[in-house]
């Protein structure tokens, strides 16, 4: 795996610098860890892992990993499969409240903070060190540091892609939707043309995707949700110049929903279905599903599905454009076999297991090792699906977006990272704000105030 050179030597890495940067964020954690009975040691207990991917293919693959691992290391692994989304969090909290926490949970980077700020995650610095030893160094932005320690072992990532139908764009002589102006012009032209297509799916919903879309849209105008002031993190939505930028985004939202089907209750499923089903010509997505689904459903536009980054306002083009969302594994405090769990995580995110895992994701989520993107790498070599369906421009475009400053995690609005980005994300208040000013008929300033006040009440931000 390690034979390809790391093409960008300047990328900061997870294991060393991040730890230093974020030291001293929270003060609560050490006290509580004691009460939880940290580190039940006996490796006789099976490693308990709650997986959030329940597709038959993944079940089979993960069970295979567990069996091989058991044979190799003589540590039993017990995997429970739960549907992704609300059910997953419910299950995990039930086990934690029941005094029977799992060893390993899955988490996306934009969710992990909610767990970390409750001080229920074990540090995983040693796992990351061991993984980097075996593979390559992991860029810092894929990790999540809380209270001085890494809390997430990233496995794969996804990046904000604005997928568009180049067949339609070319036919109508439209520019790719890279800027606000181009996006709006194209959306209007496509919606008004006699082709049964809407320009885009401009989502204004209080759902996970609604949160994602809203936050991404704010970044397109360099507007921030949070700002740090020493040890406190403030809600920045409603203050100063930032508020004006939020207002601009919302004013534009009122305009853009005209070129979209009603998307007031859309979640991840609806946005890619609308694209793959031929209702919309553009879709902002975290990852590749609009394209992989178009391929899977044999759509004529599968090949013509191309990516650009999140459209931005040309007059405010300073910040990162989109989100880089790593997803991976975390260790829960108070579980029965943390040492075995660490070994199993390391086993899953290295070697041929990770290659198999990344392939099973069908380039929806993408590798966190830059060398894997090179033609001829172990990952790409002989993988027909990727090489047949994704042109080099798309593959390298995603890679460039993921590994450059063009994308950051939502936590990166503040320095050190904002641990409350995750509760802010899952509160769905940003999506709600977009809904309020469009279908909800609320005045823009009231909607901003409302969202800011709910975020202050519920997230730990001031």
């Amino acid at each position: 795996m390690g034979e390809s050179p790391n093409t960008d030597g300047s990328t900061p890495h997870l294991s060393r610098r991040a730890v230093v940067a974020a030291a001293g964020v929270g003060g609560l954690s050490t006290g509580l860890a004691g009460c939880l009975g940290l580190g039940g040691s006996g490796s006789s207990e099976p490693v308990k892992y709650i997986s959030n991917n329940n597709s038959p293919q993944f079940k089979e693959m993960l069970r295979g990993f567990a069996e091989d691992f058991e044979e190799e290391r003589d540590i039993e692994v017990d995997i429970e499969f739960t549907e992704i989304g609300g059910d997953y969090g419910q299950r995990v909290s039930q086990l934690i409240q029941g005094g029977n926490p799992p060893d390993i949970i899955n988490a996306e980077q934009f969710r992990i903070g909610a767990y970390a700020t409750q001080d229920i995650l074990r540090p995983v610095d040693d796992v990351i060190d061991a993984v980097e030893e075996e593979e390559e160094e992991v860029p810092e932005k894929f990790g999540f540091v809380y209270d001085g320690s890494n809390r997430l072992v990233p496995a794969v990532a996804s990046v904000t892609n604005n997928w568009y139908r180049s067949d339609i764009y070319d036919e109508m002589g439209l520019e790719p939707p890279t800027t606000w102006e181009r996006e709006r012009e194209a959306a209007q032209a496509i919606t008004e043309a006699d082709n049964d297509l809407y320009g885009l799916g401009y989502t204004t919903s209080a759902t996970v995707y609604g949160s994602y879309h809203a936050w991404t849209r704010l970044w397109g105008n360099d507007a921030k949700v949070a700002a740090r002031d020493g040890d406190t993190v403030n809600v920045a939505l409603d203050s100063g110049q930032n508020r004006d930028r939020v207002r601009e985004v919302l004013e534009r939202a009122q305009q853009m929903v005209e070129y979209s089907p009603t998307a007031t209750n859309w979640d991840w499923g609806e946005i890619y279905e609308s694209y793959a089903g031929g209702t919309t010509a553009t879709a902002i997505y975290s990852g590749g599903r609009p394209k992989t689904q178009s391929i899977g459903q044999d759509r004529p536009w599968a090949d013509a599905t191309k990516r650009v980054s999140n459209p931005y306002n040309s007059s405010n083009r300073n910040a990162s454009l989109g989100n880089s969302a790593a997803t991976g594994y975390a260790l829960v405090q108070g579980s029965a076999n943390p040492e075995g769990a660490k070994e199993f995580i390391q086993y899953m995110v290295t070697g041929e297991r990770l290659v198999e895992y990344a392939r099973a994701l069908r380039f929806h989520n993408i590798p966190i090792y830059e060398s894997w993107y090179e033609p001829g790498s172990a990952y790409r070599d002989g993988w027909d699906y990727l090489n047949d369906n994704f042109d080099e421009e798309t593959i390298q475009g995603e890679r460039q977006a993921l590994f450059s400053d063009e994308t950051q995690p939502f936590t990166a609005e503040t320095e050190p990272a904002n641990p409350y980005a995750s509760p802010a994300f899952t509160s769905f208040q940003l999506g709600q704000m977009f809904y309020d000013v469009t279908e909800g008929g609320m005045n823009i300033d009231d909607a901003i105030d409302e969202a800011a006040s709910v975020l202050r009440d519920n997230t730990g931000m001031e």
Binding site: N53, S55, P56, E83, R91, Q94, N100, G277, G278
Partner: protein
Amino acid sequence: MTQIVGNYITYGQAARIKSISYQIVVWAALLALMLPIIWVIIGTFSGLDALLAGNLSRILGSFTTQPLRDVFFASNFMVYYRNSLVVAAGVVVFTVVASTLAGYGLTRVQFRGKKWLARFILFGYMFPPLLLSIPMYQIWDQLGLLNSLLGLVFAESSVPLPFGIWTMWLFFQTVPIDYEESVWMAGGSRWHSFKDIALPQAAPGMVAVGIFAFQSSWNNYTYPKVLISQDSLRPLTTGLTQYAVQNFVFWNQVMAVVLTMVIPAFLMVYFLQKYLLEGYKATA
């Protein structure tokens, strides 16, 4: 009207026309009620592409038995189905026994506060089950009933039980005590009068409670979600969500599973209808 009936058609014919037009109205109304089920049947035999394309003629032209075969042979469906049937049977037995006993006790034994006890039982319906899931998980863990079908039977029985007790309570009040008294006169014990007289007369009520318990268990989603994490012990309701994977729903497979859930339910209301209606009469 009378003119026409008297002169042009016979009274018998008029009655028949009236009866036929009444039946047309009934079946039209039922057809409207059944539209979702009809769509489930169509969906079961359609290709997923056609369903997602939203084109009616394509859907109807895409007849396939693939979804049914996928569900039956390529998923854990048979296991889910068996679990659902086993748990439903357990819930029916427990609910019927417990409700019948409680109903009999509440009618035949006089004690103070009886009415309030019966009302109090309904308080169990006043708390959102979702929030009870965390303590239930803990209690079931203590009892060693997690990931056990027996544990699920007990938990699910709690839903039909209050209504079952009410039904049996009302029903036993319509079973005249005179017959039982005559058994006592003849030297029989109260146990004999219960077993040989009261119970057979209460049979329709018991069947009604049984059917209610069956539908309640067949329907229950919250408890299996909380108490069952092992895939091989899942019933159909939580199994159904397994056909939605990573934000992608295999609609035709979902429809196929729903269809198989509807079939036993239909057989039940068709063949046990007499008892069902008898059971809820609760009248002298």
